[in-house]
């Protein structure tokens, strides 16, 4: 066994949460060790996805301008699918890419971004070690004092678990229970290569600008949805579905994504492209109510997706920005709180101060809205039927709108009362 070294902090996992924490601690002059099990930061990680830049700007002003990111999102789109039909909404906001300030959000691919961010932490003085998997924690008198990786032991004043959604580290410490199937979604994604000019033409984008598309009605009635993000020279097409409902349904998660790819409204967007990677990842779907009771123990803090920090409102999904914020909050607590016994409480205070927990709490009700099962097929079908009637001209005397809608509600096995109840539930939720 090698001689134990002692650090101010050891961070497990070089994703955005770990890198943000390492960067901030190193900047404050702390001796930091950032451990990553992949051979390079980011190569175990995947996202939809996008990053809201405000979080990077909070870590350091101007950081987002040099980050390894893809396209500035100026087009926010929603698509409802029903059979081979589609309804699309495109919200274009040029000010999301105004000159003189950081764009609101970028599309992102994690292999490049995470490697860049960990590299920045290294530049600040953090020690980054890749290809090492932390197997266990060292505990002494009820306090976590370090980590064990293979035959090596490394000691630290504080250990930070930034090891993602399946956080085995926080489980080992007894802080969190194992994740349960109903509280997660399984995300699958293809990265499809396309020339940048083609992407810009198809999505009506200026150079460097991008689009984020959420798709409803593409999941075989299963709780979930599709997504498409335009990168510089590829698009990320994928979907997230509830694995329990998928198992009951019986169609493989892989096959559902293949069907989405071939949908007449999706195929023209990716036609001529070439799939260059296939990935999968679990996503926390519970929001604020799913955050573990306790995010710290003696000598241990839990950050990022390991702590359940994900917001899903249906129209936008946030995880990376919250990971970055939580890393920052942990680093601030470690830097400012000198009494180890008060570190956990200081971390929770920072999570509030940095607006992470209040933001998650504020949109907690969306979970109730998104739990309405009719959102994933019945309502997209009803909407498509109504549009279908509106746009049908065949020489027959048109029915009144009221009659059309009433008959289509019945046709879809719904009732006005059901619609009213769901509307009320939706209004209450948000």
């Amino acid at each position: 066994m090698s001689e134990a070294e002692k650090f101010d902090a050891i961070i497990i996992g070089a994703g955005p949460a770990g890198a943000s924490c390492a960067y901030t601690l190193a900047k404050a002059g702390k001796e930091v060790l950032l451990i990553e099990r992949a051979d390079a930061p980011g190569s175990k990680n995947m996202t939809g996805g996008r990053l809201y830049t405000y979080a990077l700007e909070m870590v350091d002003r101007g950081l987002s301008a040099e980050a390894a990111l893809e396209r500035k999102v100026t087009h926010e789109q929603i698509m409802l699918l029903s059979g081979d039909r589609a309804i699309s909404i495109d919200y274009h906001e040029p000010s999301f890419n105004a000159t003189g300030r950081a764009p609101q959000s970028y599309t992102v691919l994690r292999a490049g971004f995470d490697q860049w961010f960990a590299g920045k932490a290294e530049e600040m003085g953090a020690m980054v070690v890749c290809g090492v998997k932390v197997d266990d924690l060292i505990e002494k008198d009820g306090r976590i004092t370090g980590v064990i990786a293979g035959e090596d032991q490394m000691l630290a004043d504080v250990v930070i678990a930034a090891d993602g959604v399946n956080s085995f580290i926080a489980q080992k410490a007894g802080l969190i229970k194992d994740i349960s199937a109903h509280s997660v979604g399984v995300g699958v994604k293809e990265v499809i290569e396309l020339p940048s000019k083609v992407i810009e033409e198809r999505f009506h984008l200026r150079e460097d600008e991008g689009c984020a598309l959420m798709i409803l009605g593409c999941t075989e009635r299963i709780h979930g949805g599709g997504f498409l993000y335009t990168n510089r020279e590829s698009v990320s097409l994928g979907m997230v579905v509830n694995p329990e409902e998928a198992a009951k349904h019986g169609k493989s998660v892989h096959a559902i994504l293949q069907d989405l790819k071939m949908h007449p409204a999706v195929l023209p967007l990716i036609e001529g492209g070439e799939t260059i990677e296939y990935g999968a990842h679990l996503v926390c779907e519970e929001g604020y109510r799913g955050i573990p009771q306790k995010l710290y123990g003696e000598g241990l803090l839990v950050i990022g997706e390991a702590a359940g920090f994900v917001i899903n409102t249906g129209y936008s999904i946030r995880g990376i920005d919250l990971a970055v914020l939580s890393g920052l909050a942990a680093a601030k607590a470690i830097t400012d709180e000198t009494d180890p016994a008060k570190l956990g409480a200081a971390y929770m205070k920072e999570l509030n101060h940095i607006k992470l927990l209040p933001s998650m709490q504020s949109v907690d009700g969306y979970k109730d809205l998104l739990d309405i099962p009719r959102l994933y097929a019945d309502y997209p079908n009803l909407a498509a039927d109504i549009f279908g009637q509106l746009y049908t001209v065949n020489g027959q005397v048109p029915l009144s709108m009221k009659k059309i809608i009433e008959s289509l509600i019945r046709k879809n096995g719904l009732s006005i009362w059901q619609l009213f109840k769901d509307g009320l539930r939706g209004a209450k939720s948000i």
Partner: protein, 97 residues
């Protein structure tokens, strides 16, 4: 190239893997799996690594694992007796992510 439906093995063939030949990171007790009625793993594994052979026994190869953890959280009867991330540097390496 034109976009077509691809099988899971075709898709996995695009990825970079460094398979740990010495130490599987997921181990099944096939006798338990044989008894399991639901077998959600057949449906939820994005890489479709869980299949049935003619005798109805689970076939599984950890080599194409995307390390998402879905099989682990969905395993009903604990036929998955061991699930850990692969040892350092082994397993999937996303070039894009």
């Amino acid at each position: 190239m034109s976009i077509e439906k691809m099988t899971a093995p075709e898709l996995l063939g695009l990825n970079r893997f460094n398979v740990d030949e010495e130490k599987p990171h997921i181990i099944l007790n096939k006798a338990i799996c044989f008894q399991c009625k639901e077998k959600p793993c057949l449906v939820v594994c994005p890489a479709t690594l869980y299949t049935l052979d003619k005798a109805g026994e689970i076939c599984f190869d950890y080599a194409g694992c995307l390390e998402c953890g879905t099989c682990r959280v969905m395993c009903r009867n604990k036929g998955i007796v061991h699930w850990s991330y692969p040892r350092g540097t082994f397993g999937i390496s996303f070039r894009h992510g």
